[in-house]
């Protein structure tokens, strides 16, 4: 389970890097693995403990200064971006399909109720009419 503190710590490093989200992901890949490995070793670590152990987010970001954007990074960043877009599209599609299914089920059950209600109302009307 990825700890929220670790995620925030990694996000803060990313905030200090001036590049696209995909490139940030590629740059911080190995370090992120190390952080999650550390978390698995020592259990939940506080933000301050991570700073003491690994350094302040801005210092870590600074150590990546001058990292050339090679074709390899660009293609990995692009792959990450495309994967993320597909994941978001799938999530949206899933939500839409679920919403549609719920609507159809409700609609179907709603019609029955309306039909019953109509029948019962007309029955009462008939009865009233009959009594009259």
């Amino acid at each position: 389970m990825k700890n929220k503190v670790c995620q925030k710590y990694l996000r803060d490093i990313g905030k200090n890097l001036s590049c696209s989200a995909g490139v940030k992901h590629v740059l911080l890949h190995d370090f992120a693995e190390r952080i999650y490995c550390y978390e698995a070793e020592v259990g939940e670590a506080s933000y301050d403990k991570l700073c003491v152990e690994f350094g302040a987010p801005e210092d870590i970001a600074k150590s990546f200064e001058g990292a050339a954007l090679s074709d390899n990074i660009r293609s990995r960043a692009k792959k990450y971006f495309v994967t993320k877009i597909i994941a978001v599209a799938l999530a949206v599609a899933l939500v839409a399909v679920t919403a549609l299914l719920i609507y159809i089920i409700k609609e179907a059950s709603g019609t029955t109720v309306v039909s019953d209600a109509y029948e019962s109302v007309s029955g009462i009307t008939n009865k009233i009419t009959y009594k009259k």
Partner: protein
């Protein structure tokens, strides 16, 4: 001193890549191990945070001076080991020669006590 941290950081980080390469000629190492060895082998002169090593490691990987490979540690955790390759060794050899020349020059200048118009 006002610039204490800045000077410490700049002076040290300039050499970190070379020192990492030198250590990797002895054995493959992972991030935490590099940090520990750097501290130990330099007599405590290079006490860098582990996080600051990933930038240099990344840059050297991109320049194909070192190669990273994963090794299973424990049941399902992986550790990234870094190893130097042939171009890394060539790079190190050339850089160390350059460093010797530069240090000799710096040393000469720092020991110089003559006047400015000395020929």
């Amino acid at each position: 001193m006002k610039y204490e941290n800045e000077i410490r950081e700049n002076v040290r980080m300039g050499y970190v890549e070379l020192l990492i390469l030198k250590m990797l000629t002895k054995e493959d190492m992972y991030g935490y191990q590099i940090r520990q060895e750097l501290d130990k082998r330099t007599g405590g002169a290079f006490q860098v945070k582990e996080g600051s090593l990933y930038g240099p490691l990344y840059r050297m990987s991109e320049r194909k001076l070192i190669v990273a490979h994963k090794e299973l540690v424990g049941e399902k955790r992986f550790r990234n080991y870094y190893s130097i390759n042939e171009s890394g060794r060539e790079y190190l050899e050339f850089a160390l020669r350059e460093m010797e020349t530069v240090f000799a020059g710096i040393d000469m200048l720092l020991k110089w006590e003559g006047s400015a118009d000395e020929k």
